[in-house]
Amino acid sequence: MSALFDNIINHINQIGACALIVIGLYIVVMHTNMIKRIIGINIFGTGVFYFFVSIGYVRGGQIPIVNGDESGVMINPLPSVLILTGIVVVVSITVYAMSLVIKIYEGYGTMDQAEITRMKSGENND
């Protein structure tokens, strides 16, 4: 049993990331409100980025600023670089989704996708 607990403690970051991912997916799948879906996408994105950064973590490692004197063990810088790029991508996707929601609210008068599909099938103006 204690081996299992050690194993869990070793992987606690990744388990947390998997929790965020599943929560994000749940929100996107279950809620029909558009703003909640965007929040779900952000949680899902944060979970994936948290998982990616936790790969590069070294317990007791220093930040990768190399000022000549070889001071000690440093963390793996590559995942944090890739996540810097990833965060900007999710931000720009959220901005675009928000601007779409503004215009959809003007057009349909509601934020709820289920209602909009009902309105559309009701009018069947396709």
């Binding site: 970051n13 799948v29 070294v58 190399v66 000022n67 995942p79 810097l84 900007v88 057009g107």
Partner: protein, 97 residues
């Protein structure tokens, strides 16, 4: 039926944690992802790029193509948002035809 979906997602979470427990442990030097690429970055980022901040060195020198791709993501986000939001000279309604 409604009660069943949260259980499904919890089962997915358990499956993911079971999978994660078998993955290589993070937080130590001997993790397989801490290989000669990382050692190369940490060892000679200073004399290959002249920057002390290794993250900035990777971001704008070793992998500068990703950062160019990313500024283009920002550029497309602006063009897309402006095409949706910017005021129009003729104020016709956005209802369908």
């Amino acid at each position: 039926m409604k009660r069943f979906i949260p259980v499904l997602f919890f089962a997915l979470f358990l499956a993911l944690t079971y999978a994660v427990l078998q993955m290589p442990p993070a937080g130590t030097i001997d993790a397989p992802s801490y290989n000669h690429t990382t050692e190369h970055y940490l060892a000679n980022a200073l004399e290959e790029t002249g920057a002390t901040n290794v993250v900035a060195a990777i971001l704008t020198d070793y992998r500068a193509w990703d950062t160019l791709g990313e500024t283009i993501v920002l550029f497309t986000a602006i063009v897309a948002v402006i095409s949706v939001l910017r005021k129009r000279p003729t104020a016709e309604v956005i209802r369908d035809e």
